[in-house]
Amino acid sequence: MLKINGLVSGYGTVQILNGANMKVDTQSIVALLGGNGTGKSTILKACSGLIRAWSGSINFDGQEIHNNPPHKIVERGLVQVTQGKDVFPAMSVIENLRLGGFVLNSKQKLNNNLEKVFNYFPRLNERKNQLAATLSGGELQMLCIGRGLMSDPKMIMLDEPSAALAPQIVLDIFKNINRIRKDGLTVLVVEQNVRMALLLADYGYVIKDGVIKVEGESKKLMYDESVKDSYLGGGGTTANV
């Protein structure tokens, strides 16, 4: 579904990615792991077109997308779901969701997708007329994922869905991510919470200094000492959350 080849990119003149290679198969969940400042979010931004690829290529669903503007990439069916704080706080929940379906042209489809999202997250239905600013952290994350699903994507990329949430809520959200995959979507999840992410994913990549250091089946990665090493820069145990 998504194929990244020798991706080099960064911000301004600062190079962050030094030739990353990744592959996400259709209907799989792939985890992209790494510490702070290793380039996880940069890969997502390059995929969703927020920053240019300096060299290398990004191929989505058989087409090169690294030169497309962001809204074209959303139209193609690749959507990035941001962290829960990135909502429109002064708009109601339902307006936030409608914005997620901005690329849809028919009202019928919009309403169908709304129903689908409310089916995944009934909490959003209860709160649909509230301002997004009044939601709790978990609900905000649900709203972000729901907004991502509104445009009928083929694949969603989640940027740290577990950030700053209670373990119970993280579990709930991860269950829903699994459900979303079962319904036919492909998922790429960027995480700092290594254990949770590997429990969820089929395959994992560990990124360090802008290149993929380790990759493999998540069951293998879970017990791989080198993951811990590259993740923490050698030694330490706090990765086992």
Partner: protein, 330 residues
């Protein structure tokens, strides 16, 4: 704030001119002037929220809008056709067409200016936030250039705008010239349409989204560069229609944009910079305060009152009436 209002009201109530008739007059004129300030201020606020810059050339769009309305009106009324079709109401029809052209042409002109001058600047600076200072200076430069272009086209003399809109009417004991009534009604209609557009249409939803965050808007699939042009266009169209509304009451002259820019700026600040309802409310506040002061205190310092009010409001409530905390800049 309350103390200031009380002192102000106390002072004007002791004025020798104080009676119910003059109070009604001040109220109507103040609201009329206020809606005009409000329309221009909404444009400034829209551009500020959407592009993260303060557009210092906004007054020139107001001025060119007034000239556009005047030119269209004169062109139509000087011809024979409009008399033939509307012998009774040629003035009104001509004026409405003038308003329409001022709105549409200034909108298109705004989009053009944004694409040609502002867009390349922001690309060099790496986005609207970073290039802010450059664009502010560019706004001043643009203002001078536009004034000089208007000077070349329409020459520097003041043009009277003889819109033939009918005789003054009498509402509740106040004799109101038709031009004021047009300002009042059209102003409210335009503000209402803007509210409808922003809150009930898909494009309005997109405008609000882009105004809040360009990054998230990109991620939900909004064509952000297009919407930035739309925001700029709408803001300039509002200024243009405001110009044509004001034209018949005063005169149309190349430097009329300068003072309205400052007044609208004061309105936007009083209402809370960046807030659209705030801009309208700020416009009313400034309009009423200014009219009341120039009627009850002294008309010769008319232009100073708006800024007096702005300073007082800033001292008491630095964010303005509807102000949200200053947006964090990356």
């Amino acid at each position: 704030m309350l103390i200031f209002t009380a002192i102000f009201l106390g002072y004007i109530s002791m004025s020798p001119d104080m009676n119910i008739e003059s109070l009604k007059g001040v109220l109507v004129i103040g609201v009329t002037v206020g809606i005009i300030y409000g329309l221009v201020a909404v444009g400034i606020s829209l551009i500020y929220t959407g592009l993260d810059v303060v557009n210092f050339s906004h007054g020139e769009f107001f001025m060119i809008g007034a000239f556009t309305g005047l030119t269209v009106y004169n062109f139509l009324v000087d011809g024979e056709l409009i008399y033939a079709i509307f012998p009774e109401a040629y003035g009104v029809v001509g004026y409405v067409i003038g308003l329409f052209f001022a709105f549409v042409l200034m909108g298109l002109f705004g989009v053009l200016i944004e694409r040609i001058f502002l867009r390349p600047l922001t690309k060099k600076g790496g986005g609207y936030t970073v290039a802010g200072m450059g664009i502010i200076i560019c706004g001043f430069g643009l203002s001078v250039i536009l004034q000089n272009i208007a000077y070349l086209i329409w020459n520097p003399t003041a043009h009277p705008f003889h819109a033939d809109l009918g005789l003054p009417i009498n509402i509740a004991g106040i004799t109101l010239p038709m031009t004021y009534l047009w300002m009042l009604v059209t102003g409210f209609v335009v503000a209402g349409l803007l509210y409808f557009f922003l809150n009930k249409t898909k494009m309005g939803l997109g405008v609000r989204a882009v105004a809040f965050s360009k990054d998230i808007s990109n991620l939900v699939g909004i064509n952000v560069p297009l919407y930035i042009s739309i925001i700029f266009g709408i803001a300039c169209a509002l200024a243009g229609i405001a110009g044509t509304l004001v034209g018949p009451t005063y005169q149309v002259v190349v430097y009329m944009g300068y003072i309205i820019l400052l007044k609208a700026f004061a309105s936007a600040v009083v209402g809370g910079f960046g807030s659209l309802p705030g801009a309208i409310v700020g416009g009313f506040t400034v309009g009423l305060f200014e009219t009341a002061c120039s009627f009850f205190i002294s008309g010769s310092h008319k232009d100073a009152y708006a800024f007096l009010l702005m300073v007082v409001v800033l001292l008491i409530k630095p964010t303005g009436f509807f102000g949200v905390a200053v947006k964090m800049k990356a």
